[in-house]
Every structure is written in C-alpha cells, then in structure tokens.
Symmetry: D2
Subunit: 429 residues, 4 copies
Amino acid sequence: MRSPITGYLERILEQTAHVDAGEPADYIPELAAADPDRAAVALCTVNGTVYAAGDADDEFSIQSLAKPFAYALALEDRGIEAVLEQVGVEPTGESFNELSLDPGTGRPSNPMINAGAIVTHTLIDETEQPADDRVRRLLSELAQRPIAIDEDLAASELATGSRNLGLAYLMHASGALKADPGAAVEGYVRDCSALVTTRDLALMAATIANGGTQPNTGRHLMGRRTVTHLLSVMATCGMYDAAGNWLASVGIPAKSGVGGGIIGVLPGQLGVAVFSPRLDEHGNSVRGVEMMRLLSEDLDLHLMTASRPARSALREIRTSTIEGHTVTVYVLQGDLVLSSIESLVHDLLEHPPATDVVVFDIARVDDMLPVALRTLSQSAAGLVDDGLRVIVVDPDDRLADLDTGHDRPIERWSRERLDRADEGNGQSR
Amino acid sequence: MRSPITGYLERILEQTAHVDAGEPADYIPELAAADPDRAAVALCTVNGTVYAAGDADDEFSIQSLAKPFAYALALEDRGIEAVLEQVGVEPTGESFNELSLDPGTGRPSNPMINAGAIVTHTLIDETEQPADDRVRRLLSELAQRPIAIDEDLAASELATGSRNLGLAYLMHASGALKADPGAAVEGYVRDCSALVTTRDLALMAATIANGGTQPNTGRHLMGRRTVTHLLSVMATCGMYDAAGNWLASVGIPAKSGVGGGIIGVLPGQLGVAVFSPRLDEHGNSVRGVEMMRLLSEDLDLHLMTASRPARSALREIRTSTIEGHTVTVYVLQGDLVLSSIESLVHDLLEHPPATDVVVFDIARVDDMLPVALRTLSQSAAGLVDDGLRVIVVDPDDRLADLDTGHDRPIERWSRERLDRADEGNGQSR
Amino acid sequence: MRSPITGYLERILEQTAHVDAGEPADYIPELAAADPDRAAVALCTVNGTVYAAGDADDEFSIQSLAKPFAYALALEDRGIEAVLEQVGVEPTGESFNELSLDPGTGRPSNPMINAGAIVTHTLIDETEQPADDRVRRLLSELAQRPIAIDEDLAASELATGSRNLGLAYLMHASGALKADPGAAVEGYVRDCSALVTTRDLALMAATIANGGTQPNTGRHLMGRRTVTHLLSVMATCGMYDAAGNWLASVGIPAKSGVGGGIIGVLPGQLGVAVFSPRLDEHGNSVRGVEMMRLLSEDLDLHLMTASRPARSALREIRTSTIEGHTVTVYVLQGDLVLSSIESLVHDLLEHPPATDVVVFDIARVDDMLPVALRTLSQSAAGLVDDGLRVIVVDPDDRLADLDTGHDRPIERWSRERLDRADEGNGQSR
Amino acid sequence: MRSPITGYLERILEQTAHVDAGEPADYIPELAAADPDRAAVALCTVNGTVYAAGDADDEFSIQSLAKPFAYALALEDRGIEAVLEQVGVEPTGESFNELSLDPGTGRPSNPMINAGAIVTHTLIDETEQPADDRVRRLLSELAQRPIAIDEDLAASELATGSRNLGLAYLMHASGALKADPGAAVEGYVRDCSALVTTRDLALMAATIANGGTQPNTGRHLMGRRTVTHLLSVMATCGMYDAAGNWLASVGIPAKSGVGGGIIGVLPGQLGVAVFSPRLDEHGNSVRGVEMMRLLSEDLDLHLMTASRPARSALREIRTSTIEGHTVTVYVLQGDLVLSSIESLVHDLLEHPPATDVVVFDIARVDDMLPVALRTLSQSAAGLVDDGLRVIVVDPDDRLADLDTGHDRPIERWSRERLDRADEGNGQSR
C-alpha cells in the first residue's frame, strides 16, 4: 500500500504547479543560479516520520531558516529575559522602518530579521565551541545527519554583505551589539550558509512541534519555555509579510528564507516544510506561501481553529459495590487541563455523590497541569471535609502531596485492588 | 463542598491585591468616578459554567471590549474579504503612528482601535435594526441577560468625542469611511456604553472559545470562520500594548477596555475576564494585565504551549477471530486530525497486517477532519487493492463516500455485529 | 515709450507657454471649472508700481495665499511668542506625516498648512470684528480695493470639508485648537475664498517686501518683526514642495495656493505674483513654479546671491583746512550697517589721522543700525581720548546720545558751517 | 584708539559668560579633555579684517564645520546637479529618522549630516591629490595659514567610528555610496580633524560672505553658484536644531560642530564665528548659539530683515543745456538691480522727458544685473523710437550691445565730454 499522506503532498505540488511568479534571489551568483522550477513539500508529525514529495532531498541554503534555531540556542544559553534585553520580539510592520532598530536604544526589533539575528548569534555561548559550529551541530542533531556549510556561498555573502555590516556597525555604535561587528556578521553568514533539504526542515519543524525533543532520537534539544517563546516569535515575526495578515490567513508560526524554503509548526502536532526558489518582493517564496496556505486549510493547522473543544476528562461515573459499600467511581482520562478537570468539579458541585465512599480513578490520565492536580486534590479534600471516605487510584503517585489536614486520610489503592474489590452491581451515570 | 476553582480565582485576586499602580480613565466624569479598588475575575469553560471571584457582578462600561463583538457582526454580515477591504488586521506597534491609518489609503490598521471600530460599526447590516441595537442584542445573547446602554455615559463620551470625530472626518475625507462621520461616531459610542459585569464577559469570551456557540443556550452566534479570524486579530491587535510582547509573554488572544476590563480566550477551552479600573499609559488595566499573566501561567493558557502532543488515534491494535478468520482490528478514538491518523498510516506501512481480514473500528472517534477522513478512506482502499478484506465499523456513516473502485467493496458492520462475531482468542499488540 | 519691464514679463509668459502639465484642482466644481489656460505674472517693487502681463486682472480664489496674511494678523494681535506656542514653524518634509501635527502635542507644524492655518485663524483677535472680516479687510488694504468673498465657493469648500473638519476635531481633542472646530473651519474656509487678481497679489507681496508698509498708501499694515518672521516661515514652509530644494533652487520666500497663484517676496526689493491653474501633485501651479524659477534667475532674486557686497560706507577721506587747522574729513554715505561702518573703523586703526582735528560727515547717511551708530560714537570718543578735536556733521541729530565722558565734548556742526569753513587746499586720499 | 568692534565682541562674551549649560562632547578622550570654559567670538567683513575676542587663537578640531567646505569642493568638482543626485538638500527635522537616509534610495538627506558628508567627501576629485589633502589645502587657503590635522584625534575618531562605518556600509549596500566604505569614513574623519581657531573660522565664513573670494588674498576659492547653493543648504540644514526655528529666530546660514564652534554668514556682508565647547542635546554649542542670537540681533544679520529697501538708482534728474539744446540728464548710481532700475523706467513713463535730448549717465554705477542692463537698453531704444536723441555716458562700455535697430544710433560720450559740453543753466528735479 502506498502512503495516502505522500499522495496528499503530491497533490499539493500539483495544485501549485502553475504558480511561477517571482524571481529567485539574485544578489549573489550562488542563489541566482538556483533552478527556479525545483519544488518540494514535506511533513513530519511528532511521531517523527517524514512524508515528502517533489525535490525533497535537494540541498539548498538554509538562509533565514537558521534564525529560529540560532535564537533557540541563545535562549537556552542566556535565558529568555537576558535575550529580550538585547533583541525585541515585535513585528516590524510593513517594512516601514527598514532597519527595524528601536529608535531609542538601537535594539533590533526581533530575532527573525537580519539585525536581530546578528545580535542573537553573538549571544550563543562560545565557551566550548564557536557559535557557528554550535548552530551547525544543532541543525545536524535536528536533521539526524551531518549538515555542512556551503563555503563558496558564505564567501559570496560576505563579499556582498555591506548591508549586514552596516547594521552591525550601527548596532555596535548604539551599544546594541557588544561583539565585534565584523566577526558577528561572519558568524551569522555562516549560520545562513548551511545546506539543508526540505526533508531536513520538516524534521526540524517537527522537533519544535514536539516541544523541543527530536521525535526519533528522543534528544531534548530545546526546553519547553524556549519552544513556547520561539513559537510566539515565529507567529508574529517569522514571515517578512505583514504579521497580522499572516496570522489571520494562515495562522501558523512560520519562518521563510531567501533560499526559497519555509517552515511551519503546529504545536503538539506537526512540522511542515516547503521549498520553491521564486520570491515575492518581501523575500518569501511565492509558491511556498501558496503551499503553506493549502496545507493550513486542508490540515486545519490554523492556531485559532476552535473545532476541537476539549473533551470531558470524565470518562465515566458509575456506582458500584466495594467491600459492601455503595461507592461512586469517577474515572478520569486524557490530559487534565483546567477546562477538563472543571467538568469533574462541576459535577461534584451540581450532583454531590449520594454514596459515603468516593473513588477517583486517575490511572488512565496522561498529563496533568499543576492547576488541575491542585484542583483535584482540593476537591478530594473537600469531600473528606464533608465526611466522605475518599479513595484514589493513582499508580503514578501524582497526588503524592495530597494532604487533607484531617485524621482521616485519603486512601490510595492500586488499580488491581480496585478491580478485585469491585463487586459490580453498579451502573454508569 | 466549595468549588476549588472559585478558590483559585480568589487567590488570583489576593495575589494581585497589592497592584495599585495606574489611574482610572478620567476623560469623562462617569469613568473618573469609578471606585479604583473594585476588582473581579471570572472564568468560563466551553461547558458554560461561570466561576467568579471579587466584584464580578458589578456593572461597568464595556468600552473597547465591544469591539470584537461588533467586528464579529460585521464579519458575519459582509464576509471576511469585504471587511478586510475596509479595515486592516495589522497591529499598530508601539503607538508610533498614533492615528493608525494607512498612509496611502486612510484605511484603519485594525478593528481593535477606535478608527477601525468606527468603520467596523458602519459595516454592520442595518436592514432590520440599527447597528447599535444589533450589537446590544448580540451582547445580551452572549451574556444570557438583557444588556443596557448607559445613556449618561454615551452622552458624555459624545460631548468629549473630538478625537473620534476627527478620525471619522479624516477617514471620510480619504474615502475610508463611507457613512456619515457624526452618525458613525454616535453608533460606535453607544456600542462602548453597554453595561456589563465581569461574569458577563467571561461568558462572552467562553462563547468565542466554544467556536461561536453560546455554551448554555446552544445558540450559534458566530460562524467558525468568523471566530478563527476574530481570534487571530485579538491575538495581534487586542492589547494596546506591543503585539509581539503580549503574544510571547501571555500568549492568549485578548482585548482590553478603558473601563478596566480585559477578556481572554483559549480556543476550544475557556474564556476568562478580569476587571480593575486603574489603567497603564496604554489604557490597559494594570492589575487586570497582572491577573491575566497569572491565569496564563497557572492555567497553561499559552497558545504555543507544546505540552500536549496529540495522543495516538490508535487506541488498540489486536488480532482476533471472526467468522473463523484471523483478523486485525484497529480501534481508533478521539479526534482524528492529520497528526493522529498518521499513526495508523505509519503502522499500516511499517507493519502491514499479517491477516487477510482487517477491521477499522471508528465508533469511538469524535471529530474527523476531512483530510483525516480522506486519508483513512485511502488507506482502506489501499488494503483492498492489496487483496485484503476490509470491514469498517462506522455507526455515524462518516465513511459514506468510501469508494474503492473495486468489485470487492469495503464492508460496513455495526458495532454490535462486530461484538457478536468476535470470537476472542486474540491479543493486543 | 512702452515699459520694458512689462515686455520682460510678457516674455516670461511666452517662455512658459508650452508648460501644460498638471490639472486644475477638481475637488469642488468651482475650482474644476477654471480655464486651465489662463496665466498671468505681475511684479511690484517697493515703490508701489505694478507691472503685469497676461490675465493679471482676472479674479480667482486666493486659497492658501491667504495663509501668510492671516498669520500676520495673528502675529500682530498676539505676538510671535504666543503664536509659536500654538503653531510651529517647521517644514513638514516630503509629506511623510500627512497630518503634520506634532506627535506629542498635536500642535500643527507650521501656519502654511491647513492644520496650522485653522489654528492661526482662531488666534486673530475678534474683539471688534470677526476674524474672517479682518482678513478680508487686510487683503483689501493690501490690494487697495475691496476684496470680496466667493460665497458659492465657500459653501462648496465647507460641504466637502471633511478633511479640515477631521484635522480641527483632532486638534481640539489634543488641546491644540481651543476654539470650536466647526466655527474655526468655517472661518478658515472664508479666508481662502477671497477673490483676488494677480495684480492684487503682486501688491500684497510688495507690501511684505516693503517691511509691512503698503507702498502706495503708506499704511503700516504689519510690523517689522512680524514681516521678518513671516518671511522666514514662507522661506521654509511656503511651498508644499520640499523646503530645502525650494530654497536652494529658487531661493525666495513664497507661498502657493491651489487656485493656481504663487507669490514671492525679495525683502527690501519687490514682490512677484504668478497665476496658472494647473497643479502638480503637491498642489503647486506647474507653470507658476516655472515662472518663479525664471524670475528668480533673471532678476537675481535668490536670497543667498552674494553679488552685491556692501559698498564702503566711506565715500571720501580728505584733508582740508578749517579755521586754519589741517583737518581730516571722513564723509560717510549710504546705509550704515556693521560691515560698512567697519571700513571706517579699520581705516582709523590702520591709518590714524595725522591731523589734530577730525570731521565725521554723516549728512549723506541713510539708515543707521544701532550697532553702527554705537560703533561710530565709540570711534569718535576714542579719538577724543587720544587728544584730538572731533567735529560731527549730523543734521538729523542721530549721534544725539554721543557722550565722551570728557571735558572736551564732540562738536556738532551743520553742513553749511562746514562748507563755509572749509578752506580747501585739501586732497582726497 | 581701541577698536569699538573688538569692544563689542568682548561684551558679547561678557553677556554670555553665565551660560554654562551642556557638556563637551565626550565620546573620545581628545574632545572630553577640552577646557569647557574656553570661549571666543570673531567677526570678519568682506573687507577681510578679523575682529576677535576671547580665546580666538586657541586651536580646536573643526569637526562638522569642515562639511560646508568639503561640500563646496565637491560642488566645484562635479557641478551642483551631479552632487544633488548623490546627496539631497532637505533638512532632517527634529531627528525623527535618525539615519537621515531617504527610505527609497538610501541617499542621505543633506551634506551637513554625517551620512551626507561621507558621500560628499567621496565626490571630491582625487586626480591630483587625495580628497582629505584637498580639503586641508582649501581650509589653509581660507585661513591664510597652514592648517594641520590632529592625527591622534583622527585615530580616536576612527577607533570609535562604528556609527559612521555603519552609515557608510548601509549606503554602500543601497548604492548611495559608490566608494569603499572604510576609506570614505577615514577620509571624512580626517576632514573633521583639522585644527582651527575661531579667528580662522571667521575668515572662512567671510570668504563665503564675499562670494567665494578670500578677501585678503583675492583668490577665487569657490564659484558664485557654489556659494549661493552652499548658503541655501547652510540656512536649512546647518544647525542640528530644527530648521524652521533657526531660520525664524536667528535667520542666518550657519553650521555647528561638536568641537564647540559655529560659523555664520551674512551674504555680501560678513562672516562670524563663535566657540564654546559645551553642547546641547543636538550637539550645538549652548553658549555659541546664544552668542549667535546676540550677534544676529545686534548686527541685524537676519536674512529677512527688511530694514534696508533698495535706494533709488536715480541719483539725479536735471535739465541742462548742451550744445545749445535743452537736455534731460539722468544720473544713475549704485548697483542696478531690477528694483532700482525700475525707478528710472517708472519715471520715464510717468514723466516723459520734455526735451528732445536725453542723457543717461551710468559712470557712477557699480554692478549691473543683466536684467537691469537690458531694461536700461530697451528704455533708451524706446526713446529713440519716440524720436528723441539719446546720449549715454558709459565709460566701462557696459551698454556695448545696445542696438536700437534704427538709423539714428544712441550716442556714446565720455564723462569728460559731457562735463565740457554741459553749459549749466539747468536744474535738478
């Protein structure tokens, strides 16, 4: 059987095959020489399997798609607050102020533009390795293969890099860039000269979607706070296009590069990558943007899509007979966030248990937010206060801190004990 | 038993009780007279129950919190594209261009600022009712109670409304506002003069979280596309504060008003509302913002939080004996989005079923995205192509369009038939 | 004999007859109906004779050419400092910020743009007469004939005046405009609706050139400080064009109006006026600007032209015999400014008089700046200090305050006495 | 006798002795080490004598005061139009866009800011000498002494010159700077490192006032068009302060430097220079600005001052008897500009000569604008047309091209012939 997901991606390529507007970047020969008709799309879920179509194994320069990953390194090394002092997180609007430096401080607006990325590069800790080597190593870890630098491209970029040097010197003058401007630009340019494939990019994006853990190797490459922050910045600053329009129409944290690539991330779900060298006037791949629009629409990737209201955490409420007593058993499941635990609380208040014994079975629960844990504990304690006997089935000991402050403690049973004790005769509500 | 959620909200009030910076709006006597020490917080999940603490039943003027709802009406009446032609969706940045009108066209930047809201108000269809009555009726439907206009406040706002009149006349001069400027401002001011409580606002926000359906009355007040678009605009333009900073630090679509209220929405989960009249220099409630930060952190409301990767849609794969044949049964559950259905596809490709008969049981599936439906259908058809016998248990007939293009069709069984036929002896994988 | 100046002006019209780019203002019917081929040029020296060519007696609406005169009234009524507090004097640059209001205070940038002129109008004292009547009366005094308002035009301007109303309301909101916005705009529009001819405008400009005194009636219509300030503002803010370019290329304080007129002033020399209804994108008359360029070049009107270095104030130094003594006679002439009196001082220091008696003859001197008067007095006193006898011929008693602080005073002789006493035998140096 | 002008300048120093606000520039040690209490003022008329008070012979770095002179060199070498293509002439306003580069082209706004001066430096022809040597040579010619470079200062400026390098690289990136950015900045910095005295600066300013001719050496260092253009640019762009405010309040083309110097020019009259190291937030010398204000007010230097309307060019009109005929003799004097020749034309038209013979005596005329020459010629020809006999006394043959197109030519007499022929009996009108 052939993968229907691959088939779907092939259709994306077909549906956008007519999009041939724009021109490849031409400020250096290496980019101008790109075959403008190459195109690829790849997708990788948090399970780590990559589905791809088109020229997904062709290499091209990562360019600005290196920015999110260099930023992640800086965030990990310095912490979010320290990085925020040096680089802002505001979108730059419709290229009004082309330099995108804060008029007061000279601080660059965000890390997804050149000025911000140059400063960001210098915030990567170099104690053990040069920053550009660290970026390359991270990209290799993300892609599960050694990523190389295109040295000719890097040399060309440097030779024509007056604009980046100008930005760097201006930032140095204002104090926004502490490091040597020339070295900062060279390092930044090397970051951008990494050679990647669309397949690589999908894996990289999927790692962000997976909270920073490479789904196949299981390596924790970025922390959870780093990923949340990075995604926020990609959502507002990732596309050179107007920020509000991108979020409203495509609705996915993304980043584009003048090499023709775009990556997108749906947190907790999947990463996507597209590639087509022809650029619009903002420097975004024209066909790439169109592919992203189709993917967002077909795959319902829009961050704001409200089609999946959280299911009840209450799998079942049943009465049963245990050790001769009639008991009420509340079976919880899934992830316990506030909106799911709320259904339990709501039920306890609206329909107080008519039995003297209550069992909370959380054996099937996956993740628990601290607020949900606390809310559940307090609910249990409240019932003890009301004179009930409370039993929890909590194999992972997640209610360990449960303390009622009473003589009569909450009892902890194993799942097996509950199953053995359960005499049936009950009924689900 | 007392609700631990209410307890949690009371703690939010306690934790922010020391925040007394800022001053209530004072440009009109009605706002200046507000007791600056009043404060409230309320929360409402998509289940419709409101939890509240503090002065949650005190009325105050809705002010700019009316903007998202008036915008929703305009979107419903005219369609997103038509509204976008008149009002943009770009954040205005750090109040650089204080008028926030596009320098070329005079089009207001977004509907969450005054200029944009004035134009938006005039886009509401008035065939059956004046626009301000329609806004008031929508607010009443959302709050499940009749919402009134504070006529004295409206009169005061109009008497001091030079700035709004100035914006309206300028937009009229540039063609950005087609309607009479005086009437547009009056209607807009009436929208802002509705009297609401923090409890009302939580219900209103929860309706947005619930995809536009009021959770208690079940009335469909806004369409799904309207809600997705509205949430995107709230995410980037809702707080007068810098857009990127809000999304990075709080990460929740929100809107504030100079009356001291702020609403926030976590799509699919819940709506929150806070109230405290003291404002910062941007016009956001100081303590309100602090409460929102705490809520976001405690309740993990950040849009980008990647803590809940989608669970496998594959509940179980087991072999069993049915009608004497060994069969493989794939039991699917939950919402089928692409990233969940992908786990089934992946398994089918990596571990092709070793039996001649395959059963897909989707009786426990909740929502299915079209792409997931299509992918499942194609997978089933692929197996038929490979010569297998395929049975689906699909009580809601969601695979109705399934067509293999083969003589041997996919069989459809009911859940009961499967249960009866299942001879056991199988084992889960 | 026919006037060669008139002939010169006719050649200006011929030389620009081919310039037919641009379109008349068309936002109201009254302006759109203008015959675009009408054209005129007029010139008036500080002697008060008007030379004109073309349709110089056709009436058209004064439009923004009323702004300098309304500004002059406000300056006279309130003083420069008080007016500066309400309206700035900065050019607005290349229409970057189209409203030209100070982002901080809302104060309009200068009085030559609509926002500034609306505020300026409200600064005219209305104790005895409404401001628009006062403007009309001033225009009539300047033109030596009764100037009328085109009431139809004023009505049309008001009916389409959303932009001016917008500006006025915004300025009212920020406190930059204290008066009622509607009344301010109406008054301002009436100022702009005065009907004038090119001949009128040349007389008006010549009055400014003449230091505020109408050259024919001798009436002092504006004070000297008002005129100096007004000319400065016209030099940088008068043309909607870029300020620096106008000063560098034409170099003359000027003002244009959308009626097609432009006035220019060379301080102390003459005023010019041109008329042609076709406007460029800035709202300046295209052919009018070309005529101004030719006039500036041909007539050497550029403010910075350094072709006329000040002549020596020393008409003659001669020795002569008076009352038997050999004396040195210094004959001064012309206007004594510092750079002219300096030549006397320089001579006295370099070539101290070899005689015991010195005569300063200032009978032929026209104007004396206070600094020149003081310098001359001090020079005379210095010579007395050195033991010389000093005689001044000062029929207008301009050295009245002369005080040497010595017993031996400076003597004052009449011209006749000097002539009678002069025994000749001297020689000029 | 002591010079009263020097005394006046000493009083300027006394009157501003209390002004001690501001701080010397401190970005490099060489500037920070300046004695903040040093102060000087100097004045030089177009006659070339320098009057000075205070520390007028102390050397300090010329800094931005080099800009006008480097600009003059570029204008002379390339022509105004070619230079305008590379560097604009617009004031930059209140430091809104701190880089002052045209957002579209990257062209710097004007040559008086760093960006513009860097480009200007590269426009100086280097065929025979490096540009910085040429600037130094020009400064030496202006000051009549060899001007040296402070090499330590230049080295310090380069070591801290990130901002200038940033500007240069950005302009190179946009194509606005064709030359090598590093070399351009180095050359520009050397221009700024010239060591000058206040006395030097007064001579430099006086040369501009004198139309480009050094008043003492008589060397023509800048052409007339260059000077007119340069003065226009200094008038709007010379002070870092707001352009309109400077022109309105001081009204003199000027330039300031962070070394503490300011120069000012009154065209045709004099140059002034002041020095005091303490700077305001714009980088202008605080006490220097105050001295300039006093000088402008006391010496009536304001460009727009209308106190000296042009005197009549008509010195005398008399009737006399020549060769037995009654003749009318018009004696002209002074500079003939249009506004002066107009008084003759006016008289000829209003009071046509009652005699058959007319004499125009222009022997006492100084300068004649072409338009005045033409107008006079045409007037003479008009009289010939009317049948009169016309005699001109024109020792310098300025009416050489006079051609009546008649048989009866205009006669040319020498002054002596007129004097001999004049039989008196006439009377002045």
